[in-house]
């Protein structure tokens, strides 16, 4: 297990510091030459900007839509509620290849391959995850908080903005951070939809095709670093909440 999960990561990071043209053992170095090269590559820098924009926007959109959907479903009696739940959660079970290809075939005539199209694809991909995280938090205890707020004279708008949203804070941040990391290193959908302004994973894939080079290791390490930072931040948030006594 450890060999398959962590060893490749260690290898990737180690050989990004390799002082030689091909990233194969024995290790020589270390050197930061490959980082300098990758950060000097205009295409990579541009793709990083696009990836950050796509990840941030699609995460924000996913969380906003998921919050509205979860709140609507949890707090109102809607006809066909199980069907709506199933429709929202279903994309989790669909292959990203199908989503990417499907979006491309169905909509590219109308929308055109662009970062905007990738954002829409990533929202489609991440909405179920965000919905699930937020939906479980809207339980009976949370409903009583809202009832208490109404009882104390709060209007529906005040209930939503002064009780529902703030008490969902940790779930909202966790969902946003996860959506961000999934979008940040997502390849298949981005590959189908990004067109002439590719995201970072698509550019790295392009680098790989031109030959094995520690530059790709350096790029991979940077991508990994951003994801790790987001995940650690979320874990810290969740652990801090667990330390607090239950309400």
């Amino acid at each position: 297990m450890v060999g398959f999960i962590y060893l490749p990561v260690v290898t990737l990071v180690l050989f990004s510091l390799h002082d030689g043209r091909v990233p194969v053992p024995p290790f020589r170095g270390p050197t930061l030459e490959w980082y300098a090269r990758i950060l000097g590559n205009a295409k990579v820098i541009q793709a990083t900007g696009i990836s950050l924009l796509v990840a941030a926007t699609s995460a924000a959109l996913s969380v906003a839509l998921a919050t509205l959907a979860a709140w609507g479903l949890a707090r109102h009696r809607l006809p066909g509620k199980p069907l709506i739940e199933a429709l929202i959660m279903a994309p989790l079970a669909v292959s990203t290849l199908v989503i990417g290809l499907g979006l491309s075939v169905t909509w590219s005539g109308l929308i055109g391959k662009s970062p905007l199209f990738v954002i829409m694809g990533h929202v489609a991909l991440n909405l179920p995850l965000a919905f699930a995280i937020i939906y479980v938090q809207l339980d009976a205890a949370q409903a009583r908080l809202e009832a208490a707020a109404r009882d104390l004279g709060a209007s529906e708008v005040q209930v939503f903005f002064r009780v529902t949203l703030p008490s969902l804070r940790v779930s909202l941040i966790a969902a946003a951070a996860l959506c961000f990391t999934f979008s940040w290193d997502e390849f298949i959908v981005a590959f189908f939809l990004s067109g002439f302004d590719p995201t970072l994973p698509v550019v790295i894939w392009g680098l790989l095709r031109t030959g094995l080079d520690p530059q790709t290791n350096a790029a991979g390490t940077l991508v990994f670093l951003v994801s790790i930072l987001a995940v650690v931040w979320v874990e810290a948030l969740i652990l801090r909440r667990r330390d607090a006594p239950p309400r």
Binding site: A147, A148, A149, D151, S167
Partner: protein
Amino acid sequence: MPPPDDLILSGLGKTYGAQSVLADVSLTVAAGSYVVLLGPSGSGKTTLLSILGGFTAPTTGTVRLGPRDITAMPPAQRPTATVFQDYALFPHLTIAQNVGFGLSVRHRPKTEIAARVEAALAMVDLAGYGPRRISATSGGQRQRIALARALVTEPAILLLDEPLGALDLNLRRQMQAELRRLQQAEGRSFIHVTHDQEEAMALADQIVIMNRGRIEDLGPPEQVYTRPRTRFSAGFMGESTLLPARFADGAAETAIGRLPAADLGGCSIAIRPESLRLAAQPGDIPLGRAQITARSFQGSHATLTLRLGDTPLALRAPPGASPDPGTEHLIFLAPDGAVPLTD
């Protein structure tokens, strides 16, 4: 301020599909009184409280506060405030922000909110605790915060749903005294739901005993305890022995003899352990020699289990000088010790 109004419930019922959880509940809560809704789980007491708070719409009946019909009034506009069983304090706010919430959503000036919050916190002995976070408080403190948060909005009626259920015995006693003090100091009506009969007797001006969605019995604690109306309330409020009886000529024919009791149309009587005595007092009815089968010491008194003929009875005796199990003893019934029941 106009004189406070009575709360009048008439014909309240609630059904979920084919299941009826509340049926034909009519009750008047006098302004400024402490009413306890007492019953086992599933008796409809929490549903009734939820209807009064505006969280559940009744299927039938009306709720009026004086001349106003408030049956369909949403919780935000109701002159009621609820203390929830789990307190439902806002975890993202400080104690002061929790208590001030009801004033803040009504856009009261900041200085007024601060003053009223501090006064409310002082009232529940939490002066100076305002800036703390909810996560840094104990169960008893949460209970007080929930009370202060509800009272700060000056509701005509405070609704309490099993408010002491999560506290240990000592704290519960202490909070009972506190609740009673708050209710009397503020002169508001409190309606309190519990399944604990001791808590009900300690707090209530009026006890309403509920069972299977109906009111079984109601009255001041002493009356409900000493003169229960139904078999259910006799069994629920403390110990008693129920005996089948046939009523005729102002007396009840029972297995232990003919006892004075009015005919209420029922077919049984209840006898409390404290109505039976080992030594006769003036007017007592001698019941004959009973066999003592067991004795359990309970601090301030001892409970004897007896057999009178074939009928088992319980008797509450002073702790010293009670006869040993296996012996026989004459026993007597207090003149009003046989309580006729309606069903």
